[in-house]
């Protein structure tokens, strides 16, 4: 797949049915991150 083809395919996933992209933000500090991010650190330790 060429770079352009990849870009188009990725765009189709991120922008669904012509809707605008919706965005979210992380909390303001590392220490305020949710359980998913804490689990990420723990689970990567097993790899």
């Amino acid at each position: 797949m060429s770079k352009n083809q990849r870009k188009k395919a990725a765009y189709k996933i991120v922008v669904k049915r012509g809707q605008e992209k919706k965005y979210t933000k992380l909390p303001g500090k590392l220490s305020d991150l949710g359980e998913g991010y804490k689990a990420l650190v723990r689970e990567l330790a097993k790899r």
């Binding site: 797949m1 770079k3 990849r6 870009k7 395919a9 990725a10 765009y11 996933i13 991120v14 992209k21 919706k22 965005y23 979210t24 933000k25 992380l26 909390p27 303001g28 500090k29 590392l30 220490s31 991150l33 949710g34 359980e35 998913g36 991010y37 804490k38 689990a39 990420l40 650190v41 723990r42 689970e43 990567l44 330790a45 097993k46 790899r47």
Partner: protein
């Protein structure tokens, strides 16, 4: 643009990693490994170059790939790469596109078709689960597309991040 520094790593990134490990999951005392700290400092300085890394996604990809794909420290390199990336996103108030796990899986499959996405019941949120899978890809050269080296992987990670992350104020 704000940049994560070595002091930031000592003050908050290393403690973040250590705070979320159990006693059975070792992580190095990063700050006492001089060679690793020297390499990490070089990465944190080089990422500030707009010549080498002109866009926000290029900088994010460089941080993650160069640290998570390295052997700077005896272990804990993937964790460190991911934690530095997250810190970099936070200090720049970056926005993350809202996707579900299936979307992330499809996205990764476009770039690394030979990789099989791993579900992980302990990581319930889509974005950290995506970072988990991406860190595995970066740390496993046998998954990379045939003939691809580190630079091509970094470029493809930047392409993915370009779709996912944005700054409120364009850089």
């Amino acid at each position: 643009m704000e940049y994560t520094t070595l002091d930031h790593c000592i003050d908050r990134v290393f403690p973040f990693i250590h705070a979320h490990l159990s006693e059975h999951e070792p992580a190095p005392e990063y700050e006492f490994i001089n060679s690793g700290m020297g390499q990490l400092e070089k990465v944190l300085q080089l990422v500030q170059s707009d010549v080498y890394y002109p866009t926000f996604s290029d900088k994010c990809a460089y941080l993650l790939c160069s640290i998570a794909g390295s052997q700077y420290f005896p272990n804990g390199n993937k964790r460190l790469g991911v934690a530095v990336l997250i810190d970099f996103l936070i200090i720049n108030s970056a926005e993350i596109v809202v996707l579900n796990s299936g979307d992330y899986r499809e996205l990764l499959n476009i770039y690394y078709p030979s990789y099989t996405w791993e579900e992980n019941e302990n990581i319930r949120d889509p974005h950290p689960l995506f970072l988990y899978n991406l860190a595995i890809v970066i740390g496993t050269p046998s998954i990379w597309e045939f003939g691809h080296g580190f630079d091509q992987v970094k470029e493809s990670v930047s392409e993915v991040f370009e779709q996912l992350y944005r700054l409120k104020e364009p850089y």
